[in-house]
């Protein structure tokens, strides 16, 4: 592994962690909050590929759980968000079109919603309790897609990414 990949993934982990913990957008529609952690995972996967999505997505989000007092979620998050990043990255392998970004992030978002449903059911002992998380997570997923796609397109046009696309694996 090249040093630059290590530092880049470290920075992406930090970005995902911050996106999850502190960039909160209040949603008047539901009265809840949406964080942009998933958006940053999507962007990482889109721009740097499945391995980056898996590692940064999983660990970055789990770190956010650890740091914000939801440590009991961390192991589940590690797996769910890691898979989310991996799958989006895999689906984006063929190139960066807007349509492909939309479909792959949609798959990623669905994975996240169902992942947390099952994890919740496992932890709280009841599918019904866990269902409570679903509407919020669906909203979270949709918002994350809406953020990730335009931002990824904008970033992919900058020269930095053009010159460094080689780091996609």
């Amino acid at each position: 592994m090249k040093i630059k990949q290590i530092t880049l993934l470290g920075l992406m982990m930090a970005a995902i962690c911050i996106g999850t913990m502190s960039i909160m957008i209040p949603m008047p529609a539901t009265g809840g909050y949406v964080n942009i952690g998933d958006s940053v995972i999507f962007m990482t996967s889109i721009l740097f590929g499945p391995a980056a999505g898996l590692i940064a997505g999983g660990i970055g989000s789990a770190l956010a759980d650890l740091l914000s007092g939801y440590a009991h979620w961390a192991p589940f998050t590690l797996v769910i968000k890691g898979l989310e990043g991996l799958v989006v990255g895999l689906l984006m392998k063929k190139g960066l079109s807007k349509g492909r970004m939309l479909t792959s992030t949609l798959v990623g978002a669905c994975l996240m919603v169902t992942g947390y449903l099952f994890a919740g059911a496992f932890m709280e002992g009841s599918m019904l309790v866990a269902l409570e998380s679903v509407p919020g997570n669906i909203f979270q997923g949709v918002a994350s897609m809406a953020i990730a796609v335009p931002v990824s397109i904008a970033i992919s046009k900058t020269s930095y990414v053009r010159d460094n696309m080689l780091s996609r694996n």
Partner: protein, 284 residues
């Protein structure tokens, strides 16, 4: 257009263990068309102060009145403040995000709700002011430019909003001497030709001695010394106590006078020193 700051206090994280008093009763007045140098070491409160002037921070207590409008009052629209006061942050090149230079400069004006034609004109004009060739560069990606040029794009992005007051937070930080001189010359032109009120946050006493009409020295959240550069530099000991330097010319004048050179005491620039020394030598 005048800016009046009255008893401005700002406390970060009030009532928490991290509570800190960044501004501790600031009182200043800035007249239309002035060129102000805002000086102070890191943490003296100058960045907090300029963010208040643009409505980005709300005071804990105190008032800011810009041209008879109390911007700290209830229900003042931020857009109306931003049309009046433009703020260029430190290292502004890092805020650039658009695909082309044109689009990036257009961001501010279009947020203010201007028409396409007007935006076009403003971009052209502001690129000219900062010395960027409109036709050649407008469709280029800002990320292909050098750091110094990117900074000009960012400054143009604020100038294009046509503020009556332009605040620049250390606009020359990290630039080489030529880049620094170019930017300062452009700001000076903006002041003299377009009559814009300028407030520059700076560490460089030499630059401010040359450029500013008036200096405001901040220390521990207060405007501690105020006046023309000549008046301010008279407080050499107090400035040094705060941890700020004075231009080396001042030191020279002091030492020369001690050796019996009968030259004026209040010299602050190299040019003045030159003519005074010449005068003295010719007389003797």
């Amino acid at each position: 257009m005048s800016i009046i700051v009255k008893d401005l206090v700002h406390i970060y994280n009030p009532k928490s263990p991290f509570e800190s008093r960044a501004l501790d009763g600031v009182n200043i007045e800035i007249k239309k068309g002035e060129f102000i140098g805002l000086i102070g070491h890191t943490g003296s409160g100058k960045s907090t102060l300029v963010q208040h002037l643009n409505g980005l921070l709300k005071p804990t207590s105190g008032k800011i009145i810009i041209n008879d409008l109390d911007i700290t009052g209830e229900g003042v629209s931020l857009t109306s403040i931003r049309k009046k006061v433009g703020l260029v942050f430190q290292y502004p090149e890092y805020q650039i995000f658009e695909e082309t230079i044109y689009k990036d400069i257009a961001f501010g004006p279009s947020n203010l709700g201007m028409s396409e034609d007007e935006i076009h004109e403003r971009i052209k004009e502001s690129m000219e002011i900062v010395g960027l060739d409109f036709e050649r560069l407008k469709d280029r990606s800002p990320f292909d430019l050098s750091g110094g040029q990117r900074r000009r794009v960012a400054i143009a992005g604020v100038i294009a909003m046509k503020p009556e007051v332009l605040i620049l937070d250390e606009p020359t930080a990290g630039l080489d001497p030529k880049g620094r001189d170019d930017i300062l010359a452009q700001i000076k032109q903006l002041h003299s030709k377009y009559g814009i009120t300028i407030i520059i946050v700076s560490h460089s006493m030499e630059d401010m001695a040359k450029l500013a009409d008036r200096l405001i020295v901040m220390n521990r959240g207060k405007a501690e010394i105020e006046g023309t550069p000549r008046e301010v530099f008279r407080h050499e000991d107090r400035l040094k106590g705060i941890g700020l330097g004075v231009p080396s010319v001042l030191e020279l004048v002091k030492k020369l006078r001690a050796k019996g050179f009968g030259i004026r005491e209040d010299i602050i620039t190299i040019e003045e020193a030159k003519s005074e020394i010449l005068k003295y030598i010719k007389e003797n």
